[in-house]
Amino acid sequence: MLWNALLLAMREIRRNVLRSFLTILGIVIGVAAVIIMVTLGGGATVQVTQQIASLGSNLLIISPGKRMGPGQTVGAAPFSVDDTVALARDIPQLVAVAPTTSRSMTVVYGNANWSTQITGSTDDYFKARNWVAKSGRLFTDSEQRAGAAACVIGQTVRQKLFGNQDPIGARIRLQKIACEVIGLLESKGQSTMGTDQDDLVIIPLRAFQRRIAGNQDVNIIQVSVRDGVSTTRVQQDIEHLMRERRHLSENEENNFNVMDMKEITKMLTATTQVLTALLGAVAAVSLLVGGIGIMNIMLVSVTERTREIGIRLAIGALEREVLLQFLVEAAVLSSFGGLVGIVLALAASVGLASVLNVPFVFNAGIVVIAFVFSAAVGLVFGYFPAKKAAQLDPIEALRHE
């Protein structure tokens, strides 16, 4: 009985190809929209998660000033190398303490020049950021102590200055210093905030202080907390220690700020997920609208085929058989719309993912859900027209012109 209803439905759909296509258009768009939203949202979430990993696990950033972001207080004293020594000594949960100080500068190699961020730091910087050299090496202890003119560069800088050449051993110029490239870092890509993390040159802190900055300041301290230790706890310890070192009395506010990068990324992930859910819900509404479109066409179809229904009832079709026929037709229509929507959505997702620069993450769950949902939409919205068909009076229906 079901098989016959299926065959009948297929035949009926084939007879009205254009109309069937227009009928399912709503479902196609609805399903495609849901899948695209969820797939891209999933991709964005994965991207954020990857960025958490690329940031280095359990990274805390200590900066002078009262608030994070643009509200930095002018005049808050910078840190010193002694602060980093104290942190490393007094807080045993820290695996890396990297003092950093940066400046935007133009680097020159041959005819090529490129404006980038020059950072002075120690080997701990790479440890804290969970970063390794792709080729060459990182700083040696003696280079750090002596403030040698050696530098480690990011992928973007390599590409701008060296193209595809091997940069190791080359000498690049930072203002007056000629600096030997000793290492090339792995690529990290974009950060959560959308900045290029590979656009940087790192030199030993001492070299930076002596030859570029001309002072002993440390602008930002990046520390990495040992795995399995609560970053919130450590954050409090750091604040405590820094208040002491900066001689703040009890009623004074912090004149520095400890940022937990993980918390920020978590927040961003949550935001992405909420946005995904929201957009998915909006898309789901269009699925519903598609369902109403199916109901419309099925009602028209029932009216058009009143005589046919009369014939079927007269020769002995049961009410439920007519009901099933129209119900199956609606379900076949809508699930076909679902299939078309899925194909369209996957193609569009792949394209959009590459345009928007987020990874394409195939989500089998949402594809199955969208398909089942589209079939269900057909059943729900097909029921009323089907019921109407099944309950026709055969005598009246046969008289219908």
């Binding site: 009985m1 016959n4 007879r15 005589r307 046919e308 009369g310 014939i311 079927r312 009832l313 007269a314 020769i315 002995g316 079709a317 049961l318 009410e319 439920r320 058989e321 055969p394 005598i395 046969l398």
Partner: protein
């Protein structure tokens, strides 16, 4: 069908009223009619005489308001809509004035339709439908759609569809109403043959005395009642 004691159709004081209250219209006003198995009965009468209403009741498409309809001894009035549908698919065949074939559907598929609802397997369906089409002289036309067939051919497809289930009774509502004399005679020849060879009971509504002449008995309707036979004799003589 071998039990001749029970008539295949028996109407006892059947009335049918449409509408309610002052708008009520009594289409049948106490019809008594007995049709034995194997009969070929023509039903005549002016429009509005109740013959169509009576045919709907005979076809189990409708039920009497009062009185009873016994089909092979079974009271139809007490059956549900679905039970009547099952009765129709097994024991009744319908032929309409307007053929009522499914458009854009081949002759074979049209004829197979009642068998689909009976749940016959595909091979049986094909074979029976082909036999039925052969019986009405349409072998070789299986894959033509109604649009590609003449009126006479369409009506023959309709007859094939009606007899494919090997029903006990064939109900024909002006089967030749849309056809010219030659085609009408073809149709009547087929019906006569089905009645004679296969013993199918036929009840046929017609306006034309020529067609009614093929039947072995004619029942006249007037004002919602069956006209007694002696009155017809009288009228015929006048």
């Amino acid at each position: 069908m071998d039990t001749t004691s029970v008539p295949v159709i028996e109407l006892r004081q059947v009335t049918k009223t449409f509408g309610r209250g002052t708008a009520a219209m009594q289409a049948l006003r106490g019809v008594d009619l007995v049709i034995q198995s194997g009969e070929f009965v023509a039903v005549m009468g002016p429009s509005g005489s109740g013959k169509s209403t009576c045919m709907n009741i005979l076809g189990c498409l409708d039920t009497p308001t009062t009185g009873s309809y016994l089909f092979q001894g079974v009271t139809v009035g007490s059956l549900s809509r679905d039970q009547r549908a099952i009765l129709r698919r097994h024991y009744l065949g319908f032929i309409f004035q307007g053929y009522n074939l499914l458009n854009r559907t081949t002759a074979l598929e049209n004829v197979e339709l009642p068998l689909i609802y009976r749940g016959d397997p595909v091979e049986v369906r094909h074979q029976r439908a082909q036999e039925a089409l052969a019986a009405v002289g349409l072998s070789g036309w299986e894959h033509h759609t109604p649009g590609e067939l003449s009126g006479g051919q369409q009506q023959r497809v309709a007859i094939a569809r009606a007899i494919v289930t090997q029903p006990a009774v064939l109900l024909a509502d002006e089967p030749t109403g849309n056809l010219d004399t030659a085609r009408s005679q073809e149709i009547m020849d087929i019906l006569t043959r089905l009645n004679f060879d296969q013993g199918i009971t036929i009840v046929m509504v017609t306006h034309e005395p020529d067609m009614a002449a093929y039947a072995r008995r004619t029942v006249h309707f007037r004002d919602g009642l069956v006209v007694p036979e002696h009155e017809i004799q009288h009228e015929g003589g006048a």
